[in-house]
Amino acid sequence: MGYVAVTGGQKAIEAADRINQWYRIKDAERSLETIEIEKQLRHLTDRVMSEGGLYAPEYAALAIKQAEGDLCEAAFLMRAYRSTLERNYESEIIDPGQMRIIRRISSAFKDIPGGQMLGPTMDYTHRLLNFALENEDVRALQELLKEQIPEFNTDQPLSLPKVSSLLREQGLLFPPKSSDVLFDITRDKLTFPAPRSAKLQILARGETGAMTALAYSSMRGHTTNHPTVGELRVGYVEVTIVYPFDSRESLCLGEIMLTEVETINAFERDDQGDVKLRLGYGLTFGQNETKAIAMAILEQGLETKGTTPSQDEEFVLLHVDSIEANGFVSHLKLPHYITFQSKLDVLRQTQKIAESEKTETLKE
């Protein structure tokens, strides 16, 4: 090893690191347990897993703690960690039809086989600050709720047929567009037009807020695209891989929680002249309902021709990534002395030209 000079810049970043640590805990009574984040800030960990593209609730909780609750930073920590992991296997195709459901609704039909099931949702809870949460007896509340909702405490898996299967059986839906080659956005070079699998992957990792905004634009004023939620389901799905030593068998790695949304859009005529409905598809890690709906709207928008922002493939796909958008916007904090100096130089030269032009005009 050669001699390494300790420099002012190095001292400064080390000091900043320490100061940041200090600000993280200076007013703390005790260290925040990551298990508390994981178990009680469900939506936050779900969102970080979804945008980070890594299903690991414990690590998401750790990332949230480390990032002091900065969502983008936490998703970035997950993404940077995941990019160092080897991809040893590809899972078999998961089947959300076999989902162990905790929530399932349809806005298209009142009566669907298996029925509507609200499950865990804040949709109909009044948005009033609940001051009782400041002094909550968790144990007592757990006991009370266990008695009140016994069906959520059984090991009985609840699996229900999908609404889209019913529509398909009745010949109302086009079959999903299949792509032969599965693109991997973390490994393959993305060029445009992007294959459908790449589009879906980018959207599945997209930033919730950005996607919601773009989907909103498509619903509100730009295409007045108002799809019907055929079905939204939340629950657990098994992930399996082909057993490495015997390809006839599957090996279950565990369950992941997913939100799956299928929206029903306008009908269209295909090349064979058949008229059927188009389906939009959204799938996210965890319970991320708005993002899943936004995804279904956006992916369907990208399948249709038009000039609105949400139908523009590059506009949508290149701007919904939290890590990239945050990285580039925040890089403006880096010094730009050189480019600014260069710009000043051009400005001064241009000023000189403008001055001489003025003088000439006066002379005339």
């Binding site: 420099t7 970035f76 993305l190």
Partner: protein, 285 residues
């Protein structure tokens, strides 16, 4: 504070598959000067847009025999340069230096060192926006087609409009240039002062845009022509009559600095490593 990267991660952080892809892409880039070759681009543990393209190139190249210099704005001690150097040191045994003549690899943001790059050195640029035609066309699909057809009328028109409006071409840094008489490329935002250094140089220049997922290259002895008109020739920044207040140099790129008390304006070399060497030379008789 850094976790023990040497134990946890592969040599030079990236897994071998990622390195191979970057290397294959780089070889292609060298074979097609100035053409932006897409690559998959991994997420790195530094901000996306904070030098991840340059960093991935550096990590795909570096070995323990290398000596690395990292500069930002010409400065070795700029915090992001320090941060990148620290990351590379945490996952390799490579030496680091501030002396551009000792370095085998130099990663840079916004500058080319004053001392010309030698044949045995590689200069690696961090590139924010690799597409020179982006200023006239927003869509990647279209700019790709424009390059394919060598249809550069849009950017020429833009330069012409500049002259009509301002009396000169108003581009500061990142001045577009033509490589090997075929591809227009963005030299990353280096000042115009540095652009001629790319023309028929002795060393190899590699450009990495991590967020935009592109790698391109300018090999040694390659024609690099800044876009300009016969009657409105290419001009570098003007430092007429200015000297560095530290080394006295009048032939280097200078930062403009204001004294916070007096408000007085003075100049200082942007290449701090070179400036320090010049100062030392001045003091040793």
């Amino acid at each position: 504070m850094q976790p023990h990267l040497k134990q946890t991660y592969n040599y030079a952080f990236l897994d071998e598959g990622s390195k191979k892809e970057i290397r294959r892409t780089t070889l292609k880039a060298v074979a097609i000067p100035g053409y932006q070759v897409p690559f998959a681009s991994r997420e790195m543990p530094i901000g996306r847009g904070w030098g991840t393209g340059g960093l991935q190139l550096t990590l795909s190249l570096i070995g323990d025999q290398d000596c690395l210099k990292v500069i930002d704005q010409g400065n070795d001690d700029s915090v992001n340069a320090v941060s990148i150097k620290k990351l590379v040191q945490s996952c390799t045994e490579a030496e680091v230096t501030t002396d551009s003549e000792r370095a085998t690899l130099i990663q840079t943001r916004h500058r080319i060192p004053e001392v010309p790059i030698r044949a045995d050195q590689i200069l690696i640029f961090q590139v924010p926006l690799p597409e020179p035609l982006r200023m006239v066309e927003a869509k990647e699909r279209k700019t790709k087609q424009l390059h394919a057809e060598m249809d550069y009328s849009g950017i020429w028109l833009r330069l012409y409009e500049d002259i009509v409006k301002w009396g000169k071409i108003s581009i500061g840094a990142d001045y577009p240039a033509l490589a090997h008489k075929r591809h227009i490329f963005a030299p990353s935002p280096i000042p115009r002062y540095d652009l001629p250094k790319l023309n028929h140089a002795d060393g190899l220049f590699l450009f990495g845009a991590g967020r935009e997922k592109k790698i391109y290259a300018i090999p040694p002895y390659t024609d690099i022509e800044p876009l300009a008109f016969d009657d409105y020739p290419f001009e570098t920044e003007h430092f007429d009559g200015c000297n560095c207040r530290l080394c006295g140099s009048s032939d280097t790129f200078l930062d403009e600095i204001f004294d916070e008390k007096t408000g007085q304006k003075f100049y200082q070399c942007s290449d701090t490593g070179n400036c320090r060497k010049r100062q030392e030379k001045r003091h040793t008789p």
